[in-house]
Symmetry: C2
Subunit: 107 residues, 2 copies
């Protein structure tokens, strides 16, 4: 049986897990852009991140499914325009992520 004398090994992790949806380079970049502006469109995010269209499309969709961003498909003149906006949920998740991350980078 275990006694007080036995040196206890840590029985819980010292690090809080990171939100894996946000801990991805491209998704993090997207969120980083969106937290600073009211909205941004697909083409802008693509050029700012240098992501391929396919990758961007997929990652935006994941953020959208999670409710972290909203996607609105409109037209600007005759061209389609995909607008992205961060939700309150996304803002909270991002703030949480940053807090958690600080544990890891010791700041």
């Amino acid at each position: 049986m275990s006694t007080e004398i036995n040196k206890k090994k840590e029985d819980k992790a010292i690090f809080k897990p990171l939100d894996s949806l946000l801990h991805s380079e491209l998704r993090l970049a997207i969120m980083s852009i969106l937290i600073g502006v009211n909205e941004a469109d697909f083409v802008y995010i693509k050029s700012a991140t240098k992501a391929t269209s396919g990758n961007l499309s997929v990652q935006l969709d994941k953020l959208s499914v999670a409710g972290y961003i909203e996607i609105e498909k409109t037209f600007i003149g005759k061209k389609p325009c995909t607008l992205c906006r961060m939700t309150e949920k996304g803002r909270d998740a991002f703030a949480d992520y940053v807090e958690t991350l600080k544990q890891y980078i010791r700041e």
Copy 2:
């Protein structure tokens, strides 16, 4: 042919890429532990991170192959003991990573 008149879209990403070796939850946790101490053994890191042995073994190996940590296999009494220590290169990479990350989290 392209002219100066053409509105140039951003032609470089606004985010510096993250060191993908470090941008991994477990490897980051390992580095975070090692940066704070002189050395730590496999068993300690395992319990501190709650990683499985297999996963830990693989990730330590990657960090070691990259030259970010050194691994020394010794015995403590009759039991094998795998000691890990961060290298100077690892320390630099970690510092770089943290700096880069700040762009993304705006701090």
